[in-house]
Subunit: 381 residues, 4 copies
């Protein structure tokens, strides 16, 4: 039996569920060097968190996240709460000496994110940010191909992230639509994933120019019959970027594209090849190589479920597709392996801060209507 | 807390893993009226089954399936062992009064399958056969649309199931390649899924004419250095069918189509519409309806992850895709709900026998080189 | 200026139009060694054929095909009339010493087709049958790859040809629905294309077993208010086949699949690779090769519009797609090059007869409900 | 017989060929009120233009475009020459009282384009710019759906246009790579198509911010052994836009995306629906409508080849695909119908100027690194 790692989870909605599932699945399908023990989950709604705990096998629940952070029997604090709680929880957890696994975006803005980075570095605790899409086999394979030089030098990157759950103006004003809680809208919620993929696959973004747009400016407050409230974040955002290595980037994100439930398209064009990945075909990577015989040039669809594809062997035979949730399981594999090996997990809070720096630059460029340099962030925040 | 149902699983390879995962996941994501308790797992290789038990949380393991069947603390016997063991285990489990969940194909041949049906009926125990593809949201939605009359009367059905794991002649002679253990090859292993989908979506198949083909007639025995053995089942099979309701059917299955890892295409053409589903886009159902405005006729791709799609709400927000393994979780939902309600689960052993009747008719037609009526099978075997 | 070849066309509907276009386009885009001169077109409806002639630049028209055949100023007779006229026209044209280009299916049945072959061979006139799909760049590239050995030995072939123009029972009883004029229905009209592709790509079909089905047995006669008439051909057909080289084949064709306007899927699985082509992506060939690096195995979509793809250079820059009609232009390139070189064009009437032999065998197998050997046809009919 | 319109074509390369084909095909497949007569073609290379004239049936050729413009027997001047010749030819042709059909981009820059517009307005001659993609049936159907209100109010537009013919640094420095001849690179050559589609489908673009990038700064001069020359236009361009009606737009164009031969993706998201079109599936329009029953929501692929789709009936039966070149034939239909009816053809030079205004604004924004308002252009230039 491997050593246990005792988890305290804060948040039990979409991400709390995704993380809980990942902790449960990792030991069944992989051989992680640490076995997650689902020690405690915190959430504000007692009935809901109790039911959640029962469903996913958390040993106990609480309505006060501070209890989780303070609990000496907890080794790792998992932050899956709304964005405005990321910093306070992370700061407290760092101080308490816990390892931290935090959902994206790392914070509401860059200065908050930097503060979190400084806190974990000061405390010397391990830290990881949950950019789960990095951990899909198809995306991981893309990284491998780029690193192998299969594309040659990268020239162009494009990423489109489209959702449609906000298209209806009657959709209520949840926390994700309030700046003080969310920081930003489509930008921090979904564009941030593509920013991370850009950094993962291509490198640092040096400067950006962007636009943000709020199509529906008022929405019903979530509490029945309490009237309307102002939407203080963007419904849609787009920006152009220049990477430090000279590549160009085009990014768009929206939560108002009817029919696009969770559509992500990421494409990289290099000097000798290209690849793209689309979330509607989650398991496939499309790859074009000029190394192929000339009369057979074409994008090939690699269904990344073969034993020689990243993470795939642990699951099912080739061609038996994985889903969205598996990305989180693989993220936990990385987390546990890094913790056991005493090396920093990746992506770390530094990656979270650097993504946040891009978000901040986009917002500023949108406001100032000009190109804005992305602030450089080094270890030490 | 809901009442427990104590599971005894026999088999720990591909299907044992898929079922174990399903028992674990069902209570986390659904609200089943019974909670599976993973009581015991049986397998022949002690070390392997011990590790498997540890991974998936089985309380104990054994190398003798008879122990599982005999165990008074077990309520349901899950048969995920090679095909030649389905009948002996099912007969013993029925006699022991256990509920039974059995992998497909139900048996090696029709007479064996009938015997199993008679045994469970005689014993009065609940029984279900695991045709998991029925339980994918997209497939379930197809059923709903057909039942609603969205296609009109069905005229034509076609199903292609292609894999490629046997393309290499050096692949060893595992049990799935031996008639005495498997019954048949691509036919019983994969075509049987499409036969079940045909029955589920269109109705009974009345007669068939088919061919079977073994491209690689000898393969290395699995035990290193023991020479070659004869492949006694089909590598590929195809047949034409006529449904009782007048529709026509075309079926093909192979395990030797390079690049087709687990490719399933199922299409139904009715008088006023069509639909198709393809396993490489597991979550999507394609639907063509003449009820649409004339200048907008076209197949539409329904990503069956909305809350109003079968089983989808329990998982993730729309557009966050499910994988292959989820089909088994949904099968277990059906099993548990039926058991709790005291109604027969569906598909039952009767469905298993009827599918087997088609397999037998195909094999006979291939041998006799003529059309063969599919034997009718009623309750009572 | 190259030498002229004076064309006499019989038929001015769908195929007459496609051929006329091809004769006009070939000299604009290619450098054929002979220049088609559109001498005369024949059709039964004087007004319609007059208008047609004006549209496509035919120098004169007639309502009597015998005039075209007898005309000493005509070098090549193009038969684009209903199937029952193929034989009488071909026989007369052969006797008159004309080269002949004939639409598919060559005839209504095998004996008629054989008679045509004997006639052209006796007369020593050049002859070609218009299996136009052979001439699409993507299909031609498939042939090249198979010939190069890119798939290894071919094991399996499948072809699906779906249309939907007959799904409405109110569609009138045109000649294509009458056995005495058409010979057969979906079988001779569309399955014949896939039979030709099977022969082109894989080789001769040795034996078949099939079914034919007429879903709508009566239809309105085309002349308003004259009541209903019996449909005497198949609406749908399917058959299994064994190739002489040991490969298996599965074929299906229907004109009653709602939403499938002109859907053709042709797939070839070999020992080391696969390819497929789908008419809804007319310009693309999908190719899977085990020669690719193992972690990048996948079907690649070759858009066959590069200069090194068959026929592509004559048209537009890469990626600017060709349409259906271009296949006929390429067929005429082959016809003119063969005539100028004094070699037999390909596919010839012998290919037409061999395809017809498969049609006949399918119909007989459907009637006799058993496998039927495809009659061998050699030069000499 | 309809009245003739005598055409004088200037340019015989890619576009000269596409236009020649269109003039030839239009009278064969449509019933235009005027019949194009291919009177004269001009080009600088005598041998090449002579051969071209012979191929496409131009009655005569010349190496001096001024002859064409001056010829009293010519009614319409078609400008398919390099961009730097658009203005001089158009000005001369206007002065000579000819109707003008001009390739895109209208000119090298906005002031030149305005001058052209003023000239044709002053002369009172009919004028049309060849934005051929507007005339594809799928794109035309998109326009119809938007005009019918099928999407509700449009919120978002995105367009990606990718080619790869410049990826190789050894590709020579043709006129399209020189600012003095081309005006701009990917921007004016291909992005201009998507700008036109944006205007066609959504409306005027009010302001933009963009980037341009030249990855390969030097290329071999086209004349063998004459060394290298500077690339003075962009290889790639991208910009964000705001439409006058409040919609947002994201545009990207490049000629250096390996594997993307002529990839165009155009997508429109409205309040109640979406549509997209992709040039790799030239005939298909994808449409998502919330008017569909809730459990069947999905993008549907409309293959725009039915008789009730724009321009489709003139060609082939449903499902028999059209190609790239057909867009030009349809443009000529519009041109001839407008001329015969005495109404202005659409898109006119005004559309050309407005597209050019966007190009200019993008270039300026790229230079000044800020948002730039698109200059308004009214009738009168």
């Amino acid at each position: 039996m491997t050593k246990e790692i005792r988890i305290g989870l804060i948040g039990y909605k979409f991400m709390g569920k995704a993380h809980s599932n990942a902790y449960r699945q990792v030991s069944a399908f992989f051989e992680p060097p640490l076995t997650p023990r689902l020690k405690a989950v915190a959430g504000r709604d007692e009935k809901a968190v109790r039911e959640f705990a029962a469903h996913f096998g958390w040993e106990r629940y609480t309505t006060d996240w501070r209890e989780v952070v303070a609990d000496p029997e907890i080794d790792l604090v998992d932050i899956a709460a709304p964005n405005d709680l990321h910093a306070p929880i992370a700061l407290a957890a760092a101080e308490a000496g816990k390892a931290i696994f935090c959902e994206k975006p790392l914070a509401r803005d860059l200065s908050e994110a930097r503060e979190m980075l400084r806190a974990v570095e000061r405390a010397g605790v391990p830290h990881m940010v949950c950019f789960n899409y990095r951990f899909l086999p198809a995306v991981r394979l893309a990284k491998r191909l780029i690193d192998e030089g299969a594309l040659g030098r990268v020239r162009q990157f494009r990423a489109i992230y489209l959702q449609d759950w906000l298209k209806d103006p009657g959709f209520p004003l949840l926390w994700r639509l309030r700046k003080e809680q969310a920081g930003s809208g489509a930008l921090g919620d979904i564009a941030v994933h593509t920013i991370d993929l850009a950094r993962f696959l291509v490198g640092e973004i040096a400067e950006v120019t962007g636009l943000v747009k709020t199509f529906v400016k008022e929405r019903p407050l979530p509490e029945e019959g309490t009237g309307m409230g102002e939407v203080t974040v963007d419904d849609a955002a787009a920006f152009l970027g220049r990477f430090a290595n000279g590549a160009t980037g085009v990014f768009e994100a929206t939560r108002m594209a009817p029919g696009r439930r969770n559509f992500i398209h990421v494409e990289v064009n290099g000097e000798q090849g290209s690849l793209f990945w689309n979330a509607e075909e989650l398991n496939s990577l499309w790859f074009y190589s000029e190394d192929d015989p000339g009369h057979t040039w074409g994008f090939r669809r690699i269904i990344a479920t073969d034993p020689n594809h990243p993470y795939a062997k642990a699951w099912w035979p080739p061609g038996h597709l994985l889903g969205y949730e598996h990305s989180f399981v693989h993220a936990i594999v990385e987390l546990l392996e890094a913790l056991a090996a005493g090396r920093p997990p990746s992506p770390s809070f530094l990656d979270g801060v650097r993504a946040q720096a891009v978000l901040d630059a986009v917002l500023r460029s949108a406001e100032e209507r000009r190109w804005v340099a992305v602030p450089e962030v080094e270890v030490g925040g």
